[in-house]
Amino acid sequence: MSRHYTSDHEWIDVDGDGATVGITDYAQGQLGDIVFVEVPDEGREVAKGGEAAVVESVKAASDVYAPVSGTVTQGNPALVDDPSLVNSDPEGEGWFFKLRLTHPSELEGLMDEAAYKEFVSGL
């Protein structure tokens, strides 16, 4: 199990050829109260850097990108009823979707936790 981060503030936990994706605590803090999340359907093909989900606050809507390419195996059903999970537990219960990786090598350009922390402190 390893966790990687993107410069667009997504995190990805990798376990074999499966992975879980969400947005970081920093990202939820910038957005404010999350009111709606649109997660991808099972079976959808997403490309690295391509749009995969939408997260909405009262006054803003942001696209969430796929950190790597893959096939969606599950969207988080809990977010439909309770989008506030993204605020309260962004890097746990508030995950967005699970993937089966197409090109695990794409993980190589992503940041680890320390690198992401440093990246955020520079913003």
Binding site: V35, F36, E56, S57, V58, K59, A60, A61
Partner: protein, 452 residues
């Protein structure tokens, strides 16, 4: 100039504060070549209230006023009596001169009115939810077609031949640019709407079926079977209502299974106004609410726990989603929505049902009277307050001749469908509570003479 409060002294003092020598200094960024050195030539100078009033009154007098003659025009715009209090109330400055309610703490009047309007519209159309209005019925109809595309991810819309030709025209214009495929046709002078034909054409590529209720010829079709057929193929049924008063007498499209119901609300509160401004109605099933265009007002509470209202789900809209918005609509038709809502409040259940009944029975009696005439055939046995006659002559010249005699007899199908030879003798006649028995008699006698 009576609307400009600054005095010459004010202007000098303000220029001094700014640190500019003259007004021209404030326009320095305009390239020299584009600066106009004085009032634009070929246009008159300012005019007094009295002068403007004289000029515009003279223009207004050149028009035949609907309320001053026997009048029978419909086809998407209807003349009903609007209670005096409606126009009085919408002219209150706090309604008239307010803006879109972006600051809800000081716009609760507009917001509560919109919440009431949305509820009235949803109940009337038979939908779960309704938005805070669109520009008019024709633009609402197109928005519904694009919404169906977003929901179904399909691009083919089957459009009933009974849809108002201007609505078809608007949709065709837009579809040329968006890649939607529309199947459209002109109507035929049959007693029944084209429901069975529509059902037969629905396939797996169909995004939606668009049907008008009552349709352009006045016919009313049962939508239940059509809705069921759409559901089987996972297509959406869009119903278009151009005469909302009808829904006081007939079943609502939502009740019969329509997924999206749109309409023109002009009949209630707004008046004819030569075609605008009107008010578009837009309702749908709850599950599609995030795909809806336009503004939505929602209930919430304030910091003290008091009930209040705000514009909500605004992330669907252009000012936030930019190129990903559900629509580019921004301003809606707020003041017309207010007029509609006030008129509905005055009527209430009892009033709307009674008004609808009076319209229907008066139209029914008029159809019977006109169908007796030589050279006149009633095409549409089932209708609400508008029916189609087939004359023994081309209808358009007949309408013009009757207009010369001071009777506005109806809408000739030749005007709406110039390219359809089979429709040239068709005349659509609308009879509302504003037409008297004497008006109908005047029409019957004049028609008899012209057709003889």
């Amino acid at each position: 100039m009576r609307y400009l409060p600054l005095t010459t002294d004010d202007r000098s003092a303000m220029l001094a504060t700014i640190g500019a020598a003259s007004i021209d200094d404030l326009f320095v960024d305009v390239p020299q070549a584009a600066r106009l050195d004085g009032p634009i030539h070929g246009l008159p100078g300012h005019a007094s209230e009295l002068a403007v009033e004289r000029h515009l009154t003279a223009l207004a007098r050149q028009n035949t006023v609907a309320g001053e003659v026997p009048f029978f025009l419909g086809c998407g715009a209807y003349r009903h009596h609007v209670p005096a209090s409606v126009d009085h109330l919408i002219q209150r400055g706090e309604f008239l001169t307010a803006y879109t309610p972006y600051q809800p703490e000081i716009a609760q009047g507009t917001l509560q009115m919109l919440f009431e309007f949305q509820t009235q519209v949803a109940r009337l159309l038979g939908t779960d939810v309704a938005n805070a209005s669109m520009y008019d019925g024709s633009t609402a109809c197109w928005e519904a077609i694009t919404m169906a595309r977003r929901v179904t991810k399909r691009a083919k819309a089957i459009v009933s031949s009974g849809l108002h030709p201007h609505y078809v025209s608007v949709a065709n214009t837009m579809a040329k640019f968006t890649g939607d495929v529309l199947e459209t046709a002109a109507p035929t002078l049959d007693a029944d709407p084209d429901t069975a034909d529509l059902i037969a054409r629905i396939d797996d590529d169909t995004s939606c079926v668009v049907v008008q209720y009552p349709d352009i010829l006045g016919r009313i079709g049962d939508l239940s079977e059509l809705a069921a057929a759409c559901q089987v193929k996972k297509a959406l049924l869009i119903a278009v209502v151009t005469e909302p008063v009808a829904l006081g007498a007939i079943r609502s499209p939502g009740e019969m299974g329509a997924d999206i119901v749109v309409g023109e609300g002009q009949s209630l509160g707004v008046g004819l106004q030569f075609g605008g401004p009107y008010v578009g109605l837009f309702g749908c099933k709850e599950k599609y609410v995030r795909q809806m265009p336009g503004r939505l007002c929602g209930q919430t509470q304030d910091a003290e726990g008091k009930r209040g209202f705000v514009l909500t789900l605004s992330t669907r809209e252009q000012h936030i989603r930019r190129e990903k918005a559900t629509s580019n609509i921004c301003t809606n038709s707020g003041l017309c929505a207010l007029a509609f809502s006030i008129h509905m409040t005055l009527l209430g259940e009892k009033g709307l049902r009674g008004l609808a009944e009076a319209n229907h029975l008066a139209a029914s009696a008029a159809a019977d009277r006109l169908a007796q005439l030589a050279g006149v055939e009633l095409v549409t046995p089932t209708f609400f307050n508008e029916f189609t006659l087939k004359l023994s002559k081309e209808a358009r010249p007949v309408v013009r001749t009757l207009a010369d005699r001071g009777i506005l007899a109806g809408v000739s199908l030749g005007r709406l469908y110039p390219d359809a030879p089979d429709l040239q003798n068709g005349l659509v006649v609308a009879v509302t509570e504003t037409a008297t028995a004497q008006d109908v008699e005047a029409l019957a006698r004049a028609l008899e003479e012209v057709l003889a």
